[in-house]
């Protein structure tokens, strides 16, 4: 191999990365080759000049800004992969439960099967007051239906955490 054109060899020599045997062989070559001697001396001087440089310093404001951004970002919980089957089962359960509740209340089933249920539960004897209670119950159940996605999500997150409650981070 042509030692004179082996740049890696010169670099390794200068950086002290040659074995003892390789080093001895290369030094024998250097003794006889002024071109390589000049090249190695040039590497040494240039490397020394670079080593004498003071690396640029990071502006402190940048560091502070980066820390603040990372802190803010790390507070936002990472999105976890959704278990589709678990999510679907919860969705089906919640939907079925709410549909049953809606049918019982809005469909008047409760009143048909258990006459005077609302009045009995709330101790109301006036039929008009009973109907008002029915209406309020209907509106409430409708509102609940609008919250279904959120309810499903909350139940799902609770199941994922194994029932442990964890407050949402702002």
């Amino acid at each position: 191999m042509d030692v004179c054109s082996d740049d890696a060899l010169k670099l390794d020599y200068e950086n002290g990365l040659l074995s003892e045997k390789e080093r001895a062989l290369f030094e024998a070559h250097l003794a006889a080759c002024p071109a390589c001697r000049g090249e190695v001396a040039g590497i040494r001087r240039t490397a020394a000049a670079i080593a004498g440089l003071t690396p640029p310093s990071v502006p402190p404001a940048w560091t502070a800004a980066a820390k603040a951004r990372l802190r803010a970002k790390s507070l936002v919980p990472a999105r976890r992969r959704t278990n589709v089957f678990q999510y679907a089962a919860i969705t089906a359960g919640v939907t079925a439960g709410l549909a049953l509740l809606f049918w019982l209340v809005a469909g008047g089933a409760a009143e048909r099967w258990l006459p005077g249920l609302s009045a009995y539960v709330l101790g109301i004897s006036d039929p008009r007051a009973g109907r008002t209670v029915e209406l309020v119950a209907w509106v409430l159940s409708l509102s609940t239906l609008l919250l279904v996605p959120s309810i499903i999500e909350d139940i799902y997150q609770l199941v994922r955490r194994g029932g442990r409650h964890r407050p949402r981070q702002k």
Binding site: A8, I43, I50, V58, W62, A65, A66, L70
Partner: protein, 173 residues
């Protein structure tokens, strides 16, 4: 991992790489923030097969490349390899302060280092400033170890020529 320590421990490494890879100084701060956000986002995927600093350096280099590519500041950027092979993109015009600083010998050397193309400047920075091994530099730049040595050697030779050409080698002592 504590995010403050993450920034504190690697800020110099990230900054030096940005400093060498991107000449447009007005973009440095944005890239600096972006690198750490990318690191935080990718941290769950870090498998510890290399040193954390090597992995972060790799993210920094890629972020620099993506920034330059996205900003369209270089017409010729088509691939990561091309970028590493290419010359540094045109920087912002030097201001008065910069000119004054350049009168200092070390500043001139710093200037010459900044003029090197990324393929030479990055190995020089990683080897001499960050103390990385050839193997680590190869991982960061995604090039073979032999190429790292070759680029490092050529970077030094190019730098030497620039210095000798400008002030007859006085900088080299």
């Amino acid at each position: 991992m504590d995010t403050d320590s993450l920034v504190e421990d690697h800020k110099d490494l990230v900054y030096h790489l940005i400093h060498r890879a991107v000449r447009d100084r007005t973009a440095h701060e944005e890239i600096f923030q972006e690198v750490f956000l990318n690191v935080l986002e990718s941290l769950p995927r870090f498998e510890g097969r290399s040193k954390l600093s090597t992995w972060i350096a790799s993210i920094a280099v890629h972020t620099c490349y993506k920034f330059i590519q996205k900003a369209g500041r270089r017409d010729r950027v088509e691939a990561f390899g091309d970028w590493l092979e290419g010359r540094p993109e045109p920087g912002v015009p030097s201001d008065l302060q910069e000119n004054l600083e350049r009168s200092d010998a070390r500043r001139r050397l710093e200037g010459h280092l900044g003029e090197l193309p990324p393929k030479h400047a990055l190995p020089v920075t990683l080897f001499y400033f960050e103390g990385m091994s050839y193997q680590e530099i190869a991982e960061v730049l995604e090039i073979p170890m032999g190429t790292v040595k070759s680029h490092l050697f050529r970077g030094l030779r190019e730098l030497r020529k620039k210095i000798e050409g400008e002030d007859h080698g006085r900088l080299l002592g």
